[in-house]
Amino acid sequence: MELEKFSYDNEIVRKFGLATVVWGLVGMLVGIFIATQLFVPSLSFNLPFLTFGRIRPLHTNAVIFAFVGNAIFMGVYYSLPRLCKASMFSKALSNFHFWGWQLIIVAAAISLPMGFTTSKEYAELEWPIDIAIAVVWIAFGINMFGTIIKRREKHMYVAIWFYIATWVTVTVLHVVNSIELPVSFLKSYPVYAGVQDALVQWWYGHNAVAFFLTTPYLGLMYYFLPKAANRPIYSYRLSIIHFWALIFIYIWAGPHHLLYSALPYWAQSLGTVFSIMLIAPSWGGMINGLLTLRGAWDRVREDPILKFMVVAVTAYGMATFEGPMLSLKNVNAIAHFTDWIIAHVHIGALGWNGFLTFGILYWLIPRLWKTNLYSRKLANFHFWIGTLGIVFYASSMYWSGITQSLMWKQFTPQGLLQYPNFLETVLQIIPMYIIRMIGGSLYLTGVVVMVYNLFKTAKRGSFQKEEDAEAPPMELKREPFKKGSRHRWLEGKPLQFIVASLVVVLIGGIVEMVPTFLIKSNIPTIASVKPYTPLELQGRDIYIREACNSCHSQLIRPFRSETERYGEYSKAGEFVYDHPFLWGSKRTGPDLQREGGKYPNVWHYLHMENPQSMSPGSIMPRFPWLLTNDLDTSYTRKKISVMRTLGVPYPDGYENVANDDLTKQSENIALDLQKNGAPAEPNKEIIALIAYLQRLGTDIKGDSSSSVK
């Protein structure tokens, strides 16, 4: 048969590779910066755009979507054309994808520190950027499927299955979780409220981990690991089983982020059991990866690339065992809201994503530049210092998480909390924060060494933009659909494959969401819960802008140790007007759901100005600008009407008088502050924030009759 000539575009791989390295450095540097703030809070320099709350999303977004994201695209744009024996569908789309994605990252890096955020974790970007993400993602999809359609290889390799599942699911997740109503150019409210918003968000959040940090990386593993090891994949059957099981089960597990919350109990249990059932499908990837190295283990000892990959796959196995264990109620009761979860995700991020990326880069860069790696010694150094960094990071965070959680739960023989002052449990773990920062710095040092090594490698090689290839055209003969080779048949049918994977990933989400949205008994209403006043609503938006929910939860679990410390546990009906929900996922500071009325207004005033004046030793940053910034009331009217569109029962025409009510309430608060010696003016942002904080949780305070049965 005649061979067709075509070429592979290496230029786009180079671009994405460069972006991976640059954003990786940025993301990790930001991580170290905020890790240091936790024991040197003055590092925020009293500047709004450097505070922990605003910068933490920058770190997570940079690492997930910029570092890992670009690495995914680098790997896909290298492996997909080679697996399809075809050049990419459209070079223009490739470039549009590249520049669009970088622009989105830059937009995130600017808008997040400025306080434009939806507050939903890993989906913080506001609606115009959400739309841009959708456009770029669809461009990527067209480019990918176009390439698959014009492939010369009859069957799609397992790596491509994972790429397809990634694309399909991320599309669904992003669209469903980002449905929001704009208030202004960079402010919106999600259509979901409270418990429903929480369910959608963690369905998204969990599957961002599943389908952005896991499935595409499994795809990369299936290409680059056998390439680097020069060994056949251990078991084709295992690939099939673990692929379908993984994408089907993963989507159900989101509610394990909401155990002991106000989410309906049945949904929580589904989260738990599907997480447990996820162990084997996850481990399928690890086993297939490690066993592919059978007969190559002598080389693992020598070759830094294989070493990185082995540790990455092992870290994947550890994290995917730990995850299900954390989904068990009794373990989650300890680990949730603590640094244990931080340790868990960093095993995944530093170990699995980071190390696999490094392994791929060390393999890929010399090939793109047609030379050998500049220094194997430096690569080995990177491997060991990176591993050491992970060990420092993880062990300190496990220690800190368990220590703090046990302190939160400890009662004295008299039945009182042993550590009633939350701050005491924070000060106890400061040394662990320091060790964590050291671990992160070691890891980053390794990356810097890698960058030098790769730079030197590229320097001595010569880059070739296009790589020529040839292959026979795809045979057009029909493959019989016969029993025993059904999957083989599906591998030759991209369209059917997309539909099948879409159906498989939709099931879990539908089963969990539809009843939570439609069946009223899942969220019992509470008569005393009323919408926020205009001033409180404005205050809530400031709370969101400053990302207080990065460190403070608003969710009291039904444990004696929590109700003693914070007050009555959270009820589903309390959150019905919360667009978005603000439950948070980490308690660096105490829970705030029942903060209302706990302290006088002036306490909050002084505490925001300088937390250490009210709580000596506090690691909370200062927020002095809240005392001087004027509250922007020009959007009050729009905010009220948007909220009413979303179902919050403000009376008709209330938006016209909302600012009058706002002024009245703020004058009262200002008067009280002045009486107590604070030089407060009624038109400042602090007044709105205090109004919101004093409202928190008061709707049902002392009302035990509203407890849920």
């Binding site: 295992l238 283990w297 002052n421």
Partner: protein, 279 residues
């Protein structure tokens, strides 16, 4: 590197692991948070699984079969659990797949892997049945009620033995030891609002003759213990034990008339110790 296993070594290994678990489960009865031991047990389980799976594949990793002649118990176990085709014979199961040079073997899915999957599925079904079908009334809120009930019983028992001081029976303390203990409690908890010298800041001056909620040890004990939330004084009874409240209240009384600089203006009414106490 070669390891040889025989049944004796295996039994020792199993015994060793089991001894760990028996320790863990024995300790969990001592009344400390049981979760702590769950975690240790889980970690151990994790390590055991890792070691076990590692062992199963150890010989593949070295690429050579270690034992000749009669297969040992371990190698038979390994064989039945992994059922993989040895590296030397993998040509037999090499599929005709070739993707950019990547080939695929048609090894059986390891039986132990299937067992693991089945066990987790069974766990899931049993879990849902247990919590949502057979004991549908036992929700997390029932767990909470039980926890609170147990705590209440413990508290009542302590109250019976007179361990608790309350606003009715509290006595003023005057010994230097009690007052210095009261002072440190004051400095740890109260100074943010009342100032170090008790001259008042957010909260009122505590050194003058005026009291908003009544002076004297009983009233002050009550104010500290229950708080006055609408005025911003928080309730301290969940944070300080009754003895500590007694100490800090006594310390506050001992500050009477110390005339700090820049005191907050008087708030409340004048309190005269004797006449009110005699009422």
């Amino acid at each position: 590197m070669k390891l040889k296993f025989n049944s004796t070594k295996i039994s020792f290994l199993v015994l060793f692991v089991l001894s760990f678990f028996s320790q863990v489960f024995a300790q969990s009865e001592t009344g400390f948070p049981p979760n702590y031991y769950d975690i240790i047990a889980l970690l151990l389980l994790f390590i055991v699984i890792l070691v076990f799976t590692g062992l199963i594949y150890f010989e593949e990793i070295t690429g050579k079969s270690t034992s000749k002649g009669k297969p040992s118990l371990f190698s038979r176990l390994k064989k039945s659990l992994s059922s993989s085709v040895p590296v030397e014979q993998e040509e037999e199961i090499l599929l005709d797949h070739d993707y950019d040079g990547i080939k695929e073997l048609d090894n059986r899915i390891p039986p132990w892997y299937n067992y693991l999957f089945y066990v987790t599925i069974v766990f899931g079904i049993v879990y849902m049945l247990y919590y949502h079908v057979f004991s549908s009334d036992k929700s997390m809120y029932d767990e909470y009620k039980e926890e609170m009930h147990t705590a209440q019983i413990q508290k009542e028992e302590l109250e019976k033995t007179g361990t608790f001081i309350n606003a009715e029976n509290v006595k003023l303390l005057t010994s230097p030891a009690d007052l210095s203990s009261g002072k440190s409690i004051f400095e740890a908890n109260c100074v943010a609002c009342h100032r170090k010298d008790a001259g008042g800041l957010v909260g009122p001056n505590l050194t003058d003759d005026y009291w908003i909620h009544g002076g004297g040890i009983k009233n002050i004990f009550h104010t500290i213990s229950e708080g006055v939330p609408q005025k911003g004084m928080i309730s301290w009874k969940t944070q300080l034990n009754p003895k500590q409240i007694q100490e800090v209240a006594s310390y506050v009384i001992s500050l009477h008339g110390t005339n700090p600089e820049n005191p907050k203006p008087p708030q409340g009414t004048i309190w005269k110790e004797d006449e009110k106490n005699n009422e």
